[in-house]
Amino acid sequence: MAKFQTLQEAVADNIRDGNSIAFEGFTHLIPHAAAHEVIRQGRKNLTVMRMTPDLIYDQLIGMGCVKKMIFSFAGNPGVGLLRRLRDSVENGWPHKIELEEHSHAAMANAYEAGAAGLPCAVFRGYRGAELTRVNPNIKFITCPFTGEELAAVPALRPDVAVIHALKANRNGDVFMEGITGVQKEAVLAAKRSIVTVEEIVDDFEGVSPNAIILPSWTITSVAEVKGGAHPSYTQGYYGRDNAFYIAWDDIASDRERFRAWMDEHVMEAGPEVFASRVAGLMQKGGTR
């Protein structure tokens, strides 16, 4: 059964130096508050995985928390490149991280295989693509019925999955909707999980019988953090802070400016600041 904890407790209890962690969220519901707490608690040597490493991974890398990253698209969506990631890979600042690079299809299938308890994922992919030359974790198997060659990658099974969701009920069950990416798979594939939520409610009134709900017993820790996805968004709560994504390109372009921003907004702040960050974005939350 999920434990209700503060974000500080949840991170302290679940995330240790050297762990492999999936902070997931596909544009929507990216768990920024939780990543900031990990940075604040000074975790090191992490193997981080994520289909679309964006600002939180730029921040984790720039703050020296990361040893290795497993990923498929590392960019500031719609804006450009990730400058802290580039500085690590191109110049070794603060240190050079190891990369294991896949395609989106491979990562999505690998999380799916992890959730399904399989050792590997099988799909039609990577034909004529050069990642097969540089990533030894891409192999091929043969369909025993047709002889077709299919790609295989190891299942992703992180030590910890960290996601942000809309609501938890008092039992600790968690509800998501909208663009839900690979978050359900990441939680089911992981040994432990932390879910931050916008609010804790008595029950999920009026949801579909097929609503995307993770039962309490599949989750380790639940922490309420209003606005915890900012500058990402939470469907029905607040919109994406596109202006911040654009501004990040400038903040991250310089090592000093980056460190100053992180000191002020992460190291000397706490999860409670997120609620105020989304206060101006409520009308953009999307409705349905």
């Binding site: 596909f26 544009t27 929507h28 289909m51 679309t52 990923f71 498929s72 698209f73 590392a74 960019g75 969506p77 719609g78 804006v79 490149l81 990730l82 580039r86 890979v89 191109e90 690079e101 395609s103 989106h104 299809a105 999505a108 299938n109 999380y111 799916e112 799909f123 039609r124 992919g125 990577y126 034909r127 004529g128 693509a129 050069e130 990642l131 540089v134 077709e148 060659e149 909208g178 663009i179 839900t180 990416g181 690979v182 359900k184 798979e185 968004y233 469907q235 919109g239 994406r240 802070d241 596109n242 202006a243 994504y245 101006g280 974005l281 953009k284 939350g285 999307g286 409705t287 349905r288």
Partner: protein, 256 residues
Amino acid sequence: MSDFTPTEMMTVAAARALSSKDVCFVGIGAPSAACNLARLTHAPGITLIYESGTIGTAPDVLPLSIGDGELCDTALTTVSVPEMFRYWLQGGRITVGFLGGAQLDRFGNINTTVVGGYETPKVRLPGGGGAPEIAISCGEIFITMKQSRRGFVEKLDFITSLGHGTGGRDRAEHGVHTKGPTRLITDLAIWQPDPETKEFTVTSLHPGVTKAQIMDTVGWAPKFAETMAETPAPTTEELLVLRDLHARTKAAHEGA
């Protein structure tokens, strides 16, 4: 309204290649503008799918990211990302996929991974994302990219996604039976693969563009079709709808 930018011409030319019967796997940027322009003009029945899971989406403003809330709000439904890549892309349901990148070669192979060597790159680019499987699973691929010697290169630093490989039957020899890149739409011209060699060949120059401009912006000796067309200039309606879309988008993204 005879005044238009090369980017507008590129977007309009890409939009015209789409029909109401298409199911498009849309990327951010020019493809998103082209697909939505098609939807708002001659192809109201077109189905737009973004890899974030949104199916049959009809955004009022262009998304900044592949997963903006607008895409979900206006979609017929939204599925998980594993389902998107398994049932919808790999399932062979997409008629047209859009790709672009940092580097392109004459056979429509694309690099979005690194400039320089893979281990010690000069520029670490974002990587392939959906491209390796978009390139092989969609019925055909449209590439939109602005021409430049830096981007249109003799040899890619890294093959992120397969086009026609080394040309001829090379794509099929990789076990890939979809058509691959059938159209390269740039700010200057429309290119189509030669039926035999599969090398991209200029088949239509945009209004006012010269062969010399093409040669100056491509890192190889480009081929031109024997009879080249001139791309019809954007119509007043196309430009109005496109500019409206961009104006709404700008207002929305800055309005936060």
